[in-house]
Symmetry: C2
Subunit: 415 residues, 2 copies
């Protein structure tokens, strides 16, 4: 099976991918749902009538929530028909007039947040990241907290500050404590950082408050994945986070890539789940493989400088699976709604070139990261653009596109 | 000025109150906005044409978000006209046919969540509560964390699990560590607790991501207040909360009272702000009085027993004001949307009869709370109903109605 749409070599979006996004164009400013194919977008609002009636309204919506809610079988139906529409010889292939309105150049489109995010949760599921941070702040002996291997540690994040790739982020103001024990000071964050993460959108009908989602049920609640940069004001976080966790250090902004890559597209790149010892409680156990070999790359492009790769990591380094994250999130009865976003936490590999944050790459500011030329960094500077890419490589490539964001200076302030 | 609607002695809802809520009735199941008056509800969807055209759509909505967004001047316009409609001699008074459809018995109405809550934030702003918890877990010398008096400590909560008064809450399952240093166990929460809180809804047009809200601007961003019970699984929380804060211990459910009491109604009960030492940073300072004398009462009604008051506290005990909470929440640029809910944290007074949680009332389970008869408690038992009431008392009474919720047993489970 092949597509009539031109797929450039190395494209993130072959016929096997078919990720969903929400876009608009200068000519047609209303937001609509599309599927990326090569350098085009198939506008699902235009071809909705090719799909079963029960999904058509969802395909004509301006966010993906309704499609997410329809659930697993609907996702399979839609994927099958999209694939067939884009296949050589299809009705769409034979109708060049329809193609003109249904296939939009990605370069002409503006991408938007793919869903209305009801709640956003951030986990802390990379063992290398948690260990690194633990070693830095508590020493090698107490690197991992006692609960870490028993449950996927996570916290509620701020949904309103999740933005789509391309949105610039101003360096935040905040309170920091430059010297332990001294009074805090107020001013622009000095230790501004990215966090390399991935996140998935919850789909399927919501479980009611009080109802748990089992790991088995969880497999049908994962709609698809995006790349994420969870911007972090490290110095603000250090001062504010006891005892209730990160707060204003994190609601600065959280960037996600616009294309949601489905589990169906990722399945061929499944790899064994991370070995877990101790064995988790039964409510966290599952036999199903739900880990994926997704290469993750972080580049920094200084205002006047060349784009340089600072980290190469992989989704497969996560200790806890998405199914375990869902089961744990709902263990006390939390209702998970379609459009909720659950993030992995910073994904670091074992080696120092695979760390997922400047905090780790510069080892708390004790090492210098070279960006080529004379540019070096310990943390992010104004004008730096952070570009995260992700892709699975095999017989074909399943890519995520990019998650980018530029650090702008602090907005001028009086106090 | 007096109203033609009968106001029973001791009613929470005289003409000076006029709180907003969302309700439906058996005859008319669509949700609509109402204002409580005595034992009635004025259905704003029915009388919307009496109001200026620019607010009419907001009054015909099924949640308060649109009215919240319209902002301070619109709130004053709506309040003025509602007051005049309900005043003796008004058009509504003279139109008994209109009264029949516009004035509904509260006893015939079902109340719903007043707004679509985009994000929910929980602060930790009671100095007595923070001190009590600190003494219990860290000792007297280190009771308050170093940051506590410098900024209003808070964390992002779970918006989806906020429910309206009357919604029962199942005792949650979760991981706990019965003995320090031992392996955790899985099962029903044993230390289930209420938290006496108040919360306010954000109004006004949203500030953009990156834009701070000053304390001065914040005064026009507070739409109104509700009572809150932030149910807490203490033993789950203790095990899970390091280092990122409470997570599943809190998303069990958070109950709020259905009637939103506006700042305009509370202003006559303003009392001096809590004295603050050290003087906060300029971004947290304000001269405006924004503290209120609101009596808060917590009762527990066992399944087979009498309703007993276990705590009498007051909103005025809060160290940080709502204006400071808003200014701090947005200091790093967080966008606050109409309908966002910001809670106070547990409100405890100085004396042991004014503590706002079982954790404090039973002092970590070391004291017994008598509920009359033979009933005693350290934490909540299945079948216990927790009833929170709040009111200001002066020449008249501004009440909040009730926030109630009953603890149901754990849903049967296999693992």
């Amino acid at each position: 099976m092949s597509t009539f749409v031109d797929i450039p070599v190395g494209s993130d979006f072959p016929l096997q991918n078919l990720p969903y996004g929400v876009f608009s164009t200068a000519n047609k400013v209303n937001r609509r749902i599309g599927v990326a194919i090569g350098e085009k977008i198939l506008d699902l609002s235009v071809v909705a009538t090719f799909y079963p009636e029960y999904v058509q309204n969802a395909l004509r919506a301006d966010v993906l929530n309704e499609l997410m809610e329809l659930g697993y079988d609907a996702w399979n139906d839609v994927r099958r028909i999209t694939k067939s529409l884009l296949t050589t010889g299809s009705d769409l292939h034979q109708n060049t007039e329809l193609q003109k309105i249904a296939l939009i150049n990605q370069s002409d489109a503006q991408m938007h947040l793919p869903a209305k995010i009801g709640d956003y949760t951030d986990f802390y599921s990379s063992i290398h990241h948690a260990t690194n941070v633990g070693v830095m702040f508590r020493g090698k002996e107490n690197a991992l907290m006692p609960n870490w291997k028993w449950l996927p540690v996570g916290y509620h994040g701020r949904a309103s500050s999740v933005v789509v790739s391309g949105t610039p982020i101003n360096r935040p103001l905040g309170q920091t404590q430059p010297v332990d024990g001294a009074d805090p000071v107020f001013g622009p964050c000095r230790l501004f950082d990215f966090e390399l993460e991935m996140a998935f959108f919850i789909g399927g009908p919501a479980n009611k408050l009080g109802e748990r989602v089992t790991t088995k049920e969880a497999a049908k609640r994962v709609f698809g994945f995006v790349l994420m940069n969870d911007w972090s004001a490290r110095d603000v976080q250090k001062w504010e986070y006891v005892p209730l966790g990160p707060f204003t250090a994190k609601n600065v902004g959280t960037s996600i890539s616009p294309w949601v890559v489905t589990v169906a597209a990722l399945e061929p790149f499944a790899v064994p789940n991370f070995p877990q010892d101790p064995k988790p409680f039964p409510y966290l156990q599952h036999d199903e493989v739900f880990n994926f070999d997704i290469n993750l790359i972080v580049d920094i492009k200084p205002e006047k400088g060349t784009q340089t790769t600072v980290s190469q990591s992989n989704y497969k380094y996560l200790y806890w699976t998405a199914l375990q994250q869902i089961a744990h999130h709902s263990v006390t009865g939390c209702n998970l709604n379609p459009g909720d976003l659950l993030a992995s936490g910073t994904i670091s590999g074992e080696t120092s070139d695979s760390y997922g944050s400047m905090l780790e790459l510069s080892w708390k500011g004790t090492r210098t990261i070279s960006l080529g030329g004379n540019e070096t960094r310990k943390f992010l500077q104004d004008g730096d653009e952070v570009i995260i890419r992700g892709f699975c490589n095999g017989e074909y490539r399943i890519g995520f596109g990019e998650c980018r964001g530029k650090v702008l200076p602090t907005i001028p302030f009086e106090n």
